[in-house]
Symmetry: C2
Subunit: 143 residues, 2 copies
Amino acid sequence: MVDAIETLIDEVRLLYHRAVQVAEDLHRQEPVTVGMRAVLEFLDHQGPAAVPHIARSRLVSRQHIQTLVNALRRLKLVETRPNPAHRRSSLVELTDDGRRLINRMRNREADRLAGARLTPTRSELLRAARTLRDLRAALGDVQ
Amino acid sequence: MVDAIETLIDEVRLLYHRAVQVAEDLHRQEPVTVGMRAVLEFLDHQGPAAVPHIARSRLVSRQHIQTLVNALRRLKLVETRPNPAHRRSSLVELTDDGRRLINRMRNREADRLAGARLTPTRSELLRAARTLRDLRAALGDVQ
């Protein structure tokens, strides 16, 4: 059983690194890193959010997200506004430029993936995603 | 289809971060990081190897592996010896201390995993690992 988990975690690590490589290669001409892209995508899916909330959802440190948000602000891809719920942590939201950029990146990724001759089927992909989620739950994450 | 890939890649990213968190927490008292642990495990599984070979197998930069190897050498967990195949890149191998450490870490991980109430079965885990490998192949990695 433990060997099966180790095999899976090892594939997770390799696919993670490969996905980062592909994304970096694909978006070479854009001013954002893979980490900054993840923040833009989060805001596009979830709407405006505070830094601590983004950090918790992404399982990374608050400081890490704050650094990414600062870089995105300098590029005018996100802006911050007062948070009605918490006076001390403002809400981060996409600017129009930020929304255009993340859409452009996602379209480029979709084109790249459509061009890959994919052996796993859609249902295999979703099944694997559920297994990964179950394993993450067993490791004490996921509510 | 693209949405299924995005769902899976997102789970990969989350499980990767969670696995790193769990490992850091579990081995807090050890002198090695998660990256250093991965190098020790690689050498334990594959035997002595040169830095460029480790880097290619792990899909990370040669410089990154060199930094980890330097840190492991300072701790006397690995040592280097001449490479009969390549005069310019020496072979890295585990010392006895390095082998003892990686075994201790893997036993601790096995205990932690055995204690998790696991919902995915062994065959689900291996099936997901195969799907991840297929996706990685479609993304142009895997020979």
